[in-house]
Symmetry: C2
Subunit: 299 residues, 2 copies
Amino acid sequence: MKVVVLAGGFGGARFARALAETDAELTVIGNVGDDEEILGLHISPDLDSILYSLAGIGDEERGWGRADETWNALETVKELGGEAWFQLGDRDLGLHLLRTQALRTGEALSSITACFSGALGIEATVLPATDDELRTHVETPAGDFTFQEWYVGRRHEDEVTGVRYEGEAQVAPGVLEALEVADLIAIAPSNPYLSIGPILAVDGIRKAIESRRAPSVAVSPLIGGRTLKGPAAQMLQRFAGGTSPTHVASAYEGLIDRLVIDEADADEGEHIVTRTLMNDEAARRTLAGAVLEAAAVPR
Amino acid sequence: MKVVVLAGGFGGARFARALAETDAELTVIGNVGDDEEILGLHISPDLDSILYSLAGIGDEERGWGRADETWNALETVKELGGEAWFQLGDRDLGLHLLRTQALRTGEALSSITACFSGALGIEATVLPATDDELRTHVETPAGDFTFQEWYVGRRHEDEVTGVRYEGEAQVAPGVLEALEVADLIAIAPSNPYLSIGPILAVDGIRKAIESRRAPSVAVSPLIGGRTLKGPAAQMLQRFAGGTSPTHVASAYEGLIDRLVIDEADADEGEHIVTRTLMNDEAARRTLAGAVLEAAAVPR
């Protein structure tokens, strides 16, 4: 079964891994709206979380970056008075160095990602939504910030009053083709506005999903109306009017046939109910199984 | 006493430290002919060896790089199939990241070096010979290489048949001024062709030393006709015709008033004889003392 997943960072990376552990032929379309230039390096946090998670080298506890990480380069940056608000681990840095160098020589992000994916022994296809620059900006009472400035730099403490995706982004090679031949489209339990929104903002992706042949499901990022991490609940409250499954589904209007929700959120709606917390392999298997069954729901 | 030192990497860094431990008011002019672009980063190995040595954070045993170093970023580079022939430690990387970023924004190498020097609590003034690109190329029977390609990449195994300094390099701010007011000019026990030659190739520096007011001395890089590290003996044999103190002095003709040599090399010549091995603080003090006495030799 060919499955295409739309994924952000934390929940997206875990969800991609859950599906990679099944027999599905997996394509992961990763968000690049969070990408940032840090210390002259191009950082793609969501793509990297997906790569690390699929390769089994991510830090499970922290939820981002690599396992067995050290932080010595950043120690020097601090020692020398440099910009050190963004956590860059030493193992992580090696990848950023190579990617930045390849981008400078004109290689496309999608081709670099494919190369890293191969080197890390990942079987799934990992694609950035776009090879172009697309940046998520959040509007807050304290001003406008890029995603990382707000999320990391300001610890996502300012309330988000609006979200903009900046940049004229063309869809990356392979993305529309994967959606076209998919047996199932699955939206990861990521923030609809900050992680999935920037993917849908890429020219052609929203339309391809709206006119899909295959069934499409989204996994709600909420458990008991709350999130493990990040401001999705607060943003759904503000932008969708609430945190019920119906509100979550409304954020994906026209894009999904079913919503997968946690048992804690079960209501009278026609949803797929399962445990959505992915805290171990058994839990990932449960969620992946429930999601794959959705391939049989009517379009 | 104002002392200006011309210094390459290994011997230069140790010698700079030896003089920094005296009362001398020290200016170190560092070689940048070995600089290289590695993984998109600007690396200045000699300047960094000098900074690390003066700050007391260098790896004494290895003779380059930082103490307590880790190599995780490079591990990732290897894992992803990237260029990993040049050893870059994690702590070291933090400095390269900041310098590269500052150079890209148009800051001069000399100003960046001053900034790092201050952050590391170094009292001496450390100056690159030039802010411009000047590259040492070695000619060998196997072809022409940049210094690092030959020294690190090919383990300096090919015999050097010629040395070229490429680039139109203007002298960095402060260098000629320091030479002008110096009470003593001292050339470190570095390779005359590979470490000191590129400094003298910078427009104005050779002339400033030739027309000096202050006495000038060089410390021979040889002990018993051999070097601790690197190909200086072999190159003196080829380019100066031998490895005696007279041969070493001839490499600095017109540029020095005395040569400081090791006891093991003592001959009938009018040299300053001392122990030149700098393997501990007492040894550094002995050598620095002998060098500073040279301020009294007649011009």
